[in-house]
Symmetry: C2
Subunit: 675 residues, 2 copies
C-alpha cells in the first residue's frame, strides 16, 4: 500500500556544518538573500527591476482605499498583458502593476529562503526586515482573503478568469510555501494566516459544486504547497483542494478550452495542452511532456497526494512519469527540459548539448519530485537522481561567488554561438546578475538553505541518510531522542563518520533504532564499520539497527573513482563521446584549462590513467581530473577538401566539476567529450 515511509527532517532538528554545504548556505545567506532583497525592491543597478515589493505596496494602498470606500472604489483597468514593461520615464511611474504577472513570487521565494536561513543562522535584523516585508504583503490582502497584486491592482472582476496563462494560482502556491517556511522557522504566523485565508478563498471558489470553478492552475505548484499547508495546519480541506486540482487536470472537456474558446477553436481538439500537462487526466499520463518546471512541480504534488491518500493509481502514474524522465529525458547532469521552445521536455532520447535548456528551476523541481518519491519508497535510485540534479545542475545555476546565475545550463558551449546564433540566444556563456523573470536565483536560495530536508528523511524508528550533508541531527525515535553528529566528507575523501553524541531515553527502555545509509550509484566499493550492530543492504541503503548508545561511532567510506560514462546508443547527440564523473560530480572541460576548439580533442577512456589535481576557481579549491588526451591537428585550408588521415598531438585534459564552469570568464565548455 502506498503510504508515508519517510518525512523530511524538521529543519529545526538539523544544524548543518558540512564543509561543502555550509559554504553554499553561507553564500545564500551572505550574498543571495541580501541581493535578492535589493532586487525585489528595485535597488540593483543595471538589473531588470522586479517591482515585486512596489506592487505589494500599491496593492496595499488600493486595498486600504477599498476597505474605506467599500465597493464604490473604482477599479483601475487597462488591457492586460503578461508583462508590463518599464515605463520610459521611470521617475513618473504610475500606481500600477509592473513586471510579469507572477512577480509576487519574487517575494514569496525570498521569504522562504529567509525562513530556512534564519533556522541555520539567527539574524535579528534580517528577521525584522522580513517581518516588515510581511506587513507590506499582508496589507495588500483583500477582505475575502485574496492576495495577488496583479488582479488587486488591475481588476478584481477578472480574478480566476485566466488560470491558463496568468499564474494566479502559481503565485498563491509560492506565497503558501513561503508562509509555511517562515512559520516553521520563526513560529510567527502572520504570513501563514494570510496564506490560510487565501487558501480558504481558493477552496471556496474551486470545486465540483454548483457555482464553483472547475479549473486548475496553468502553472503548477499549488498542489504541493497545499500539501505543506495541510501538513502544518492539519486542515483536511487543503489536501482535498490539492487532490481536486490534480484530479481535475486534463479532464475533458478541457477547462482551458472553456476559458479560451477562441484559442481552442484555433487548435481544434488535438492534445495541444501538453505544455501544461493538461492534455489528459494525470492518472493516464505516462510521458513527461511540456514545460519542465511545471511538470515536475505537478508530479511532486501528485506524489504527495498519492502518499497521503494511499492512492495506488496516482502513485503508478508517478512511477511512470519518473521512469519517463530519468530513463529517457534527463541529462547526465540531472538537467531536464531539453528545448527552449516552451522550456520543455523533448521526445525520448533527444538531449542536445549545445541547444539544451536544462533550466535550473527544472532541476530543482526534479529534486522536489525525487524527495517525494523517496518518502514513499526508500530506494536509492531516487536519491541518486536527487544528488545528480543537486550537485550538478542546481549548483551550476549559481556562480561560486553567489553573485550571478544561470537560468539555462547547457552541456556544451561555444560562446560565439551564444552571441551570433539566434537559436542559441537562450544559452549564456556567463552567468547573469538577475533576470526579469527571476525564478531561478531565489529558487536556488530556497533549496540550498533547506538542503537538510532533502538530505534526511525519517520515520518513527529510522533516520534515512540520503545525501550526507554533515551536521548535528536530533532524531526522536518514538520518544528516545538521539543526537547524531554527522561528520561528512562526501565531496572530498568520501568518508563519513556518524557519532552518537547523546541518547536521552525518555521512558528508560531500550529501543530498536535504525540508521539507513544510502550507498550512492557512483560508488562500487565501500567500507562500513558499524561496530556491534547488524546491517543489511536494502534498495541501496545500509540499514543499521540496534540500541545505539552515546559514543557509538559508525563509519562508512565510499571509495571514489573516476568514472567514464557513456549514453545509451539511443542518444544520437552523445554518440562517440564520453562524460567523466567523480563522486557526485559530473565533470567538464573548459577552454580556460584546455584551449579552444574543444571539438578537436578526444579523451583517453582508461580511467586508470587519471591523475587527480587541485585548482582554485574563484576562491574555491576544486578537485580536477587530469586524463591523457589527443588533440587532432587542425586542417584549415579549404572549406572542403579530400580527406586525409588525421594527425594528433598528445595532450592532457583537465576536467573540472560541471557546477564550477563559467567562473573564469567566457570560453568553450563541454561535458561530453570525444572519445
Amino acid at each position: 500500500m502506498v503510504r508515508t515511509v519517510g518525512t523530511p527532517l524538521d529543519l529545526r532538528n538539523i544544524h548543518v556544518n558540512d564543509p561543502f554545504w555550509k559554504g553554499e548556505m553561507e553564500l545564500v545567506r551572505r550574498e543571495v538573500i541580501p541581493y535578492q532583497w535589493n532586487a525585489i525592491n528595485d535597488r540593483v543597478e543595471g538589473a531588470e527591476p522586479s517591482y515585486a515589493m512596489r506592487n505589494f505596496k500599491i496593492a496595499g494602498k488600493i486595498t486600504a482605499a477599498r476597505k474605506e470606500q467599500g465597493a464604490a472604489y473604482k477599479e483601475v483597468i487597462w488591457p492586460t498583458n503578461i508583462f508590463r514593461p518599464i515605463p520610459e520615464d521611470a521617475d513618473h511611474m504610475e500606481d500600477r502593476f509592473y513586471g510579469f504577472v507572477f512577480q509576487d513570487t519574487d517575494f514569496s521565494k525570498w521569504i522562504e529562503a529567509v525562513g530556512y536561513s534564519l533556522l541555520q543562522h539567527p539574524d535579528p535584523e534580517l528577521e525584522r526586515t522580513a517581518d516588515e516585508a510581511i506587513d507590506i504583503v499582508c496589507a495588500a490582502q483583500q477582505p475575502n482573503g485574496y492576495l495577488d497584486t496583479y488582479y488587486i491592482i488591475n481588476d478584481m472582476s477578472k480574478v480566476f478568469t485566466n488560470l491558463k496563462d496568468y499564474h494566479e494560482l502559481y503565485c498563491f502556491g509560492h506565497l503558501t510555501e513561503g508562509a509555511v517556511a517562515y512559520y516553521q522557522a520563526t513560529g510567527k504566523d502572520k504570513l501563514l494566516n494570510a496564506a490560510r485565508r487565501f487558501a480558504d478563498f481558493v477552496y471556496s471558489k474551486f470545486g465540483r459544486e454548483e457555482g464553483q470553478i472547475k479549473g486548475y492552475p496553468g502553472h503548477e505548484i499549488a498542489e504541493m504547497a497545499l500539501v505543506r499547508l495541510y501538513e502544518v495546519t492539519g486542515e483536511d480541506r487543503y489536501l482535498e483542494l490539492s487532490k481536486y486540482f490534480i484530479d481535475e487536470r486534463g479532464q475533458h472537456p478541457y477547462y482551458f478550452d472553456k476559458e479560451h474558446p477562441d484559442e481552442a477553436k484555433r487548435h481544434g481538439d488535438a492534445e495541444w495542452y501538453h505544455y501544461y500537462q493538461a492534455h489528459r487526466p494525470v492518472r493516464q499520463q505516462d510521458e513527461a511532456t511540456g514545460h519542465a518546471v511545471r511538470a515536475v512541480y505537478l508530479y511532486s504534488g501528485m506524489a504527495d497526494v498519492a502518499r497521503l491518500t494511499s492512492d495506488e493509481e496516482l502513485y503508478k502514474a508517478c512511477l511512470r512519469l519518473w521512469d519517463s524522465i530519468v530513463n529517457r529525458k534527463m541529462y547526465v547532469t540531472g538537467g531536464i527540459g531539453a528545448t527552449n521552445h516552451g522550456e520543455a521536455f523533448l521526445y525520448d532520447y533527444e538531449l542536445p548539448n549545445d541547444l539544451a535548456y536544462s533550466e535550473t528551476c527544472a532541476a530543482i523541481g526534479l529534486v522536489f519530485f525525487a524527495r517525494r518519491m523517496l518518502q514513499i519508497d526508500v530506494d536509492s535510485k531516487y536519491a541518486d537522481v536527487m544528488e545528480r540534479a543537486l550537485y550538478n545542475t542546481v549548483l551550476s545555476g549559481m556562480a561560486l561567488d553567489g553573485k550571478s546565475f544561470f537560468y539555462v545550463n547547457p552541456l556544451e558551449v561555444r560562446p560565439e554561438a551564444c552571441h551570433k546564433d539566434e537559436r542559441k540566444f537562450h544559452v549564456k556563456p556567463v552567468r547573469q546578475k538577475w533576470f526579469g523573470c527571476a525564478c531561478c536565483p531565489p529558487n536556488i536560495a530556497r533549496l540550498v538553505s533547506s538542503v537538510g530536508a532533502y538530505a534526511y528523511t525519517e520515520s518513527d524508528d529510522t533516520l534515512f541518510t540520503h545525501l550526507y550533508v554533515g551536521g548535528t541531527i536530533e532524531k526522536d525515535y518514538s520518544g528516545t531522542k538521539v543526537v547524531w553528529d554527522v561528520d561528512s566528507d562526501l565531496t572530498g575523501s568520501g568518508k563519513i563518520k556518524i557519532t552518537c553524541r547523546e541518547v536521552s531515553k525518555a521512558d528508560g527502555a531500550a529501543r530498536d533504532m535504525t540508521l539507513a545509509l544510502r550507498v550512492p550509484d557512483w560508488c562500487e566499493f565501500y567500507n562500513l564499520n558499524c561496530g556491534p550492530y547488524p546491517h543489511e543492504l536494502k534498495k541501496g541503503y545500509e540499514y543499521i539497527s540496534g540500541s545505539f548508545k552515546q559514543g557509538d561511532v559508525i563509519e562508512i567510506e565510499f571509495k571514489k573513482s573516476v568514472r567514464i560514462l557513456e549514453s545509451s546508443s539511443a542518444v544520437a547527440e552523445d554518440h562517440g563521446k564520453v562524460a567523466v564523473s567523480y563522486g557526485p560530480f559530473v565533470y567538464c572541460i573548459e577552454e580556460a584549462d584546455n584551449g579552444r576548439d574543444l571539438h578537436m580533442v578526444s579523451v583517453c577512456t582508461d580511467a586508470s590513467k587519471t591523475r587527480l589535481g587541485k585548482l582554485t576557481i574563484e576562491g574555491s579549491e576544486v578537485t580536477t581530473i587530469v586524463l591523457p588526451g589527443k588533440r587532432e591537428k587542425a586542417k584549415t585550408g579549404a572549406l572542403y577538401q579530400a580527406y586525409t588521415k588525421p594527425e594528433y598531438d598528445d595532450c592532457e585534459l583537465t576536467f573540472i566539476p560541471y557546477y564550477t564552469w563559467a567562473n573564469r570568464g567566457e570560453g568553450e565548455m563541454r561535458v561530453w567529450v570525444n572519445r
Copy 2:
C-alpha cells in the same frame, strides 16, 4: 579592368538533348509548369491556394473601373498584413487581395519558365495559355504603369510606403525577369512593354532628385532584373536605376529607419539591417549576412552592374562576398543560409546539418551569382560552385517525379525530430506538394529550363563550356557561324565529345575560334584529344583555338573517382565525419538502404574499396557508391552507464546522390557520415 568577358548563350542558340538535363527539363515541362498553372489558379486540391491569377483578375476589374471613373474611384482599404489568409467561407470570397504580399511573383516565375520551355519545346497550346495569362496581368496595370496587385486592390495611396517588408519592388523585379524571358522566347512584347512601363514608373519615382524616394528594395531582385531589361532594350536608365538601388542600399541615415521610425527607435542605431543586407553600403560589405536569397540576388545584381559599368570597387565587394560565402558559409551540397531564423547566413563555419535551412532558392541565387562572376572572370572556381549548387541542392529541391518540392534542404534528417522538435519543424522529411509561399518550385522550373544560359557563355571569339549540358549549339564567331554538337555524358562516363557539325564562313576568311572547356574541381585526371589544335590550361579551362572545320571532333574525358571529403576543422559540426562525392554529385546515405540509427554507422575512408552500383529510385537509375562500413553495436541499457569499448558489425554502406534522397518515403538521411 572589370569588363564583360562572357555573356550567357542566347537560349535560341542551344537545343538541349543531354540525357540528364533533357530529363529534368521534360519534368519541368510536363509536370511542373502545368501543375504550377493549376496552382496559381487555385485548382490544386489539398494545396494552399496561390490566389495569384485571382488577384490579377480583381486588380484588372479595379483598374478598368478606375479608368472609367477617374480619380473618384473609391479605394478599398483594410488594415494591411503581409499575409491575408483564406477566408472561412471560401465560396464567398470578396473582391479583395488574398495571400502573401508577394503573390504576384507566382505568375512571374511561371511565365519565365514557360518562356524558356517554349524555346526548347514549342507548344502552341501552352503559348496560348500564357498569352491569355499575360492579357489578364496587363489588364491590371495602372495608367501610370504601376503593376502590383496588392496595392492596386488595397490602396494605391500606400504605394512605395513599405519597401522594407511588402515586396513591391521584388514583385516588379520578378515581373521584369518573366517579361524578358517570354519576349526572348516568343518575340512577343506585350508583357515586356508592361514591364518597361512599370520600370519607367519606378525610375521616375526613385532617385536622388527632389521629390524622389531615396529608397531601395527590401527584398532584392530588381537589381539584376533591371540589368536584363537594360540588356534587352538597350535603355541606359534601367542600368542606372539598378546602380542607384545598389549604391543607395545601406547608406546612412537608413531609409528603412525613415520608413519605420517606430521600429528604428526600438532597435536603436545598431547594425540590425543585416537581414536586408542594408546594414552598410554594399561597397563596404565583406561578409555575406542576413536572408540568404536576398543576399545572393543582391550580389548578382552587384556583379552585373560592376561588369557593365567597369566598377572596380563594386567588383571587389563582390569578390569579398563570394569569398565569404564559398570559403566559410556554404554547405558541401552548395546550399547556403544555415539558419531558419531569418532564412539567413550564420556566422563563419557554423553549418549545422540537422538544423540546416539551405533553401532551394538560395542555392538558385548562388547559381545566379556564380554565372555573373564567370561573366567577368572565366575561372573554374565559379563554375565549380555553380555546379555544386545546381547538381545537389537545386535538384534536391524537386522530387524525381517533379511533383513535390523541398524548400529546406537539410544534410541530416531524423524524421522523428521533424515531427516532434519545434526547432526542426522547418525541416521536412519528405517533399511537399506546394507551399503558400511558393518561391522554390517555380524558381527551380525557371532555372532548370534555362540551364543552357548557365552551361555556356560566349565572347566574340570563344565559347565557354562550364557545365557540359549536351546539345546543339550555334555560335557566331564574329560572323562565322559554327554549329557544335556537344555529346555529353558528364553525369555518366564523364566523356564529352564535341563535334563541329557546320561552319559557315560569312566572309570566307579563316578565323581564330576558341572553345574553352572547364576542368571540374572534382576531376584529377582527364584526357583531352583536340586533334591538330593547340590547347592551353588557364584558370581551370582548356582553351582550344584554331580555324575549326566541319567534322572536327574534340574529346575530353573526365576521369571520375569516388572522393572522400572532409570539412575544414573549423566546422565543428562535421568533425569526425566525411562526405562522399562522385563527379558533380555529393552523395548521402539513407535509411532505405542502410537501416535506421545512421549515427551508429561509420564509413571506411579508403576510396579504393568502393564498388559502384546501380539503383532505380522512382523510375530513375542512379549510380550508387558502396563502401565498407561498420555499425557499432547498440547499447541500450541505462540512459547513462559506465563506458565499455564499442563492438562493431561489418556492413556495407550504400550511398545515393543527394538530390535523389527522400524519394522513397520518410527515413533517416546523412550527408556527413562518421569516419
